[in-house]
Structure formats: structure tokens, C-alpha cells
Amino acid sequence: MTYEKILFFIFAMSACGGALGVVLAQRVARMAFWLIVSLGSVAGLYFMLHADFVAATQIIIYVGGTLVLLIFGIMLTATGPHVKIQTSPGELVMGAAVGVTLLFLIQGTVRSVDWNKAAIVTSGGEFQQNEGQGYNPTGQGNTIRPLGMALLGLRPDKDLGAPEEAGLSSGYLFPFEIVSIHLLVVLVGASYLARAKQRTRPTV
């Protein structure tokens, strides 16, 4: 057992356990707590995959942003203290059966593929020889600079050292701009939808 295996075991167990806790918990606030556990340990898994920027973004945006939003939603939509919205037992059994079947299907598919054919050995990456001293290559977890350049449309992580006839790799400048406009529209739309209105009587 190396340290990496132990760490992976801890993070994977708490990610899966948190996800199961979200499914099994009956109160929404406890679901939110288990979701925090699950998302936090997924961020740990990202760190183990040498994706440091994605892991930091996961913590900042998911755990710090989206979950706070969800907890505000729980607060604002709270019903009375004795009202519990329960799932009927038949639906629970059916959902569990469907879930177990789906899980067996997916894990059978994952196990039936020989991933070693698709995988390359990442320990000695192609561009590692080109780097000077004091520069952490992408394969070792310093991904902020290559990610930022890729979002600006430049791909030095793919193009450096590549044969010239291969041409330049594509970047992500256009999706980046689309996402920024999308976020603006979403903010305007969300604040328009959630604006305070006069409460109408329930129609049922």
C-alpha cells in the first residue's frame, strides 16, 4: 500500500459515501451536508489526478458558491417544522432496483474495456525534455499556465515539439467568450425570475 493508494481509498470512499448519503438522507439540510462531503472529496481526487486548477475551482465554485446557493434555497423554501416530504416506499424500492442495475451495467462496461491500449505512460511526457529548470511540466500538476493559454486560444502544451506539418492545435477562446456571455444572461435571467412579487394564493 503506497500513500497514493491510501489517499485514493480515503477520497473515493468519502466521495461515494457522500453520494449515497445524499440519496438516503431524508431531510434536505442533511442532503446538503453529504453533498459538501462528496464534492470536497471529489476535489481531492482531482488533486491526485494532477489537476490542481480544476480542484481549486471545484472547491471555490461548487463548495463555496453553488452549495451556498442551494442552502439559501433550502432556507427560502422551508415548509413548517413538522412537514416532511417523504418518498413512498414503493418508489424507493423501484429507484434502488434501477440504480443497482445501472451501476452493474456501467461497471461491467468499464471492466470489459482494455484501458491500457488507450492509455499512454504519463510519467515521461513528451514535452518534459523541452522544459528548462524551475518549470513544472503539466504532467506533474502545474496546469494553470497551460489552461490559461488554452482558454486564450494558444496550445503550447500540444504544439511545442510537435511536427510542423501537424499544424496548430485548436484552443478554446470562442467557447470561453460564449460562456462569459452565457453567465451574464443567466445572472440577468435568474434575478428577473426570482424578483419579489406579490404572493398569490395556492391554486390547488
Partner: protein, 100 residues
């Protein structure tokens, strides 16, 4: 640790999210199921970017997924608030006026 173990973690997250979306009657609970599904997909993206020739593309796609999930949560939450304003409950089974 190989690619396979990360894919299995992603599978567990995905299945939990699907079951959560199918069984919960609370609207906020449905949103949490969606977040779990997107996270399972994200784990797969980052694992493929580490262990195959996908390179940084997988990480960039997972960044886009995180941002779009935040946007989706904001809009869905405002819809849930509207639903609560109209029905005085968050039980999604009560939103059945459109049934024939």
C-alpha cells in the same frame, strides 16, 4: 491507481445522482442529484485527461462543466423560488396543473 478505479468512482456518483433525481420529491433535492451527475462526468473527464492522450482538453471541458453547473443551479433555484411562491410548497408532485 489506474484509470479504471476513477471511472468506478464516477459511475457511483452518476448512479447516485440519477437515483436521487428519480426518488426525491423535494425540488432542491432534484438539484442536488443533477450536481452529483455532473460531478461523476467531471471525474471521468479529468481521469481521461490524466491517463490517456486527451491531455489538457479534458480539464478544460470539466472547467466549462463546473461553470455551466453553477449557472444551471442559479436558474433552477429561481424557478424553485417561483414554484414555492405559487404553491407554498417545494414538493414537485404538486406541479401537475398541465396534466390532461
Amino acid at each position: 491507481m489506474g484509470l479504471e478505479s476513477y471511472l468506478l468512482v464516477g459511475a457511483v456518483l452518476f448512479v447516485s445522482g440519477v437515483v436521487c433525481m428519480a426518488t426525491k420529491r423535494n425540488g432542491i433535492g432534484l438539484l442536488m442529484g443533477v450536481e452529483l451527475v455532473l460531478n461523476g462526468a467531471n471525474v471521468n473527464f479529468v481521469a481521461f485527461s490524466r491517463y490517456t492522450t486527451l491531455g489538457l482538453d479534458g480539464q478544460i471541458v470539466s472547467l466549462f462543466v463546473i461553470v455551466l453547473a453553477a449557472a444551471e443551479a442559479a436558474v433552477a433555484l429561481s424557478i424553485a423560488l417561483n414554484f414555492y411562491n405559487n404553491h407554498l410548497t417545494i414538493d414537485v408532485d404538486r406541479g401537475d396543473e398541465l396534466k390532461g
